[in-house]
């Protein structure tokens, strides 16, 4: 029996082969540009996509959020390491601004400005903004910090080399180097609690419900209700980090 000759000539094989390999090469060249657009990558799928709301008009500066965060997550007790802290803003009559956060607000606040000089004063709880175009994940040289499919920015501490580039890149001061581990540490949105259908510690411990949290993809979620009914703003919007921490009643002095 005569052996049937293959239809594909060697020339065709090389032609299509080159085309496929070239195509792959070109695509891979363009992939990093996604990285530029989204810092890491575009959100995937229609699953949960967490967002955070903080109502400044409800915050009483008790510091329970900061304290519970330290206890829940074994954050070093020294006043240089915070995943969550509270700032006290005082706008004076002359327009000058005084910001204070003694021990991150854990021990409460005292007002250092005399009453008659105060125009207004309020508290601003701070934490990781879990940005969708997070500059910190963009700069990590090894990819140890990443955004999960749920929109949570996490760090793999077994992988982090402790170069501190992400600490420099975070515009909100939300990262620190763990003094014992030598790796970077930050808010995880208590992902270990989320896995058990519990709220993050700082949300659970807020006595005035100033902190709201939920799935931005779910139109009926708390966070979407909050966003719909308040005029919310993110901090440093000009940096285009796609922050997912939305504040109600945010004063322009807050940075």
């Amino acid at each position: 029996m005569k052996k049937e000759k293959s239809n594909i000539s060697r020339r065709d094989f090389f032609k299509s082969g080159t085309f496929i390999i070239g195509g792959l090469a070109v695509t891979s060249v363009f992939t990093p540009f996604n990285g530029i657009l989204f810092a890491t990558e575009a959100p995937k799928g229609k699953g949960k996509w967490y967002g955070i709301g903080i109502d400044i008009s409800k915050c009483i500066g008790c510091g329970k959020c900061a304290k519970s965060c330290k206890l829940e997550n074994n954050v070093p007790q020294e006043p240089f390491y915070f995943r969550s802290w509270v700032e006290q803003y005082t706008i004076k009559n002359d327009g000058s601004v005084v910001v204070e956060s003694p021990n991150g607000g854990i021990d409460g606040f005292t007002q250092s400005v005399p009453d008659e000089e105060i125009f207004k004063s309020f508290f601003v709880p701070k934490m990781c903004n879990h940005c969708a175009k997070s500059p910190c994940t963009q700069v990590c040289p090894v990819g140890a910090t990443f955004e999960t499919d749920e929109g949570i920015v996490l760090v793999d501490e077994k992988y982090c080399i402790g170069c501190r580039y992400c600490v420099q890149a975070c515009p909100y001061g939300c990262r620190y180097i763990h003094p014992e581990k030598g790796t970077v540490d930050k808010c995880t949105l208590c992902v270990h609690r989320l896995d058990k259908d519990l709220q993050p510690a700082c949300f659970d411990n807020c006595p005035t419900e100033a902190r709201i949290f939920g799935d931005l993809n779910d139109p009926k979620s708390n966070i979407n209700y909050f966003l719909k009914n308040h005029t919310c703003m993110v901090i440093k919007p000009h940096l285009n980090t796609a922050s997912k921490l939305f504040y109600n009643a945010l004063s322009p002095e807050v940075r």
Binding site: P32, G35, I36, A39, T40, E78, P79, F80, Y81, F82, W85, E87, V97, V98, V99, E100, S101, N103, G104, K126, P135, Q138, V139, C140, P141, V142, G143, Y159, C160, I161, G162, C163, R164, Y165, V167, Q168, A169, C170, P171, Y172, G173, C174, R175, Y176, I177, P179, E180, K181, G182, T183, V184, L239, R255
Partner: protein
Amino acid sequence: MENHIQNLHEVLSQVEGYVYPNEIELNWSVLIVLYPYITGLVAGAFILASLERIFKVHILKPTYGIALLTALSFMLVATLPLVSHLGRPERAYEIMITPHLSSAMAIFGFVYLWYLLVVLLLEIWFDYRRDMVIWASQSTGFKKSLYKALSLWTTDISPKAIALDDKMGYIVTLIGVPSAFLLHGYVGFIFGSIKANPWWSTVLMPVIFLFSAIVSGIALVMMIYIVLSKIRKIKIDMNCLDTIASYLFYILVIDFVLEGLDQIHRIYEAEESFEVLHKLVFGKLFYTLFIFQGLIGTIIPLVTLATFQFYKPKENIRKPIYLITAILVLIGVFFMRWNVVVGGQLFSKSFYGYTSFKIGLIGTEGYLMAAVWLIVPFLILGFLLWLLPPWKKADSEPEISEV
């Protein structure tokens, strides 16, 4: 650890205004000042060497070999302060194995290796191959085997082989010049691309880094050439020195203009961060910026070199002045790196206050460690000059001893 926390408490008591609590600790310290400084010296020294090779500025011949070996000595040390500064230095290799491509820093390992292996080592190898073959035949024992190994056991020194070496060396240098630009422009990008930090985030940063790198590299080679000639009791080729000085002058002018432009732009735009930076510059950075970088490192050398462009005093006056100028420029560029790296971390990203910088004498982040990383390249250079003396090369020009 205890010490570290104690230090931070001390810094906390010196905080002015408000800084985010995580910002009290200054994350990139003197070792990260050294990193752009040392890579800059490498790039600058190489560019000076390539002037001779590519642009045929033969008057620079006496410094060609010195410049190449200087570049190599500093290149070998360039990554060490960086790695020793990591929180987990034992994981440093991850940056090469699993680089995260959207990170400016991830590419450093590759740029570094490209520059070290492909450009510097190859160029030096092609340049010295014939001499290593000759030296191997003239020496005995260990040195003989060392030269043999370094020449990769090649023995062909026929005119044809030498012509090929020369051609290959030329091609490598041709690749090397853009690579040197890439190496240091890239280091500038690491800082310039951080949008969170208004002191760093400027599109001019890579260009400024590049030109200050060239300035520092030229000054370094100038200094080494003068000191080396003194040690070897050899007469300095004043034509060569004058030419180097004029290059230093031109590049220094460009560097000064670029940095000035950057500052004028900041002042005129006066963005949100202007007040905090203004106070920073006239406060915590006053001495390092205006005195060390500006006056000592830029204005005095500029005026001196400009004067020498049209009025040249006698040789024995010019020589020490060139030496001092080179040292001043080196100090100035060091403080330029300092002002960028440390200055960029002294103010809070809230723009409401300042932290302070405290550094000890000892410890992995101390001044002594930094001094070690600055001295080691000179020791390596000493060894390389002993092993591969440019003045003993077959094609080197005869030197005149100083009486």
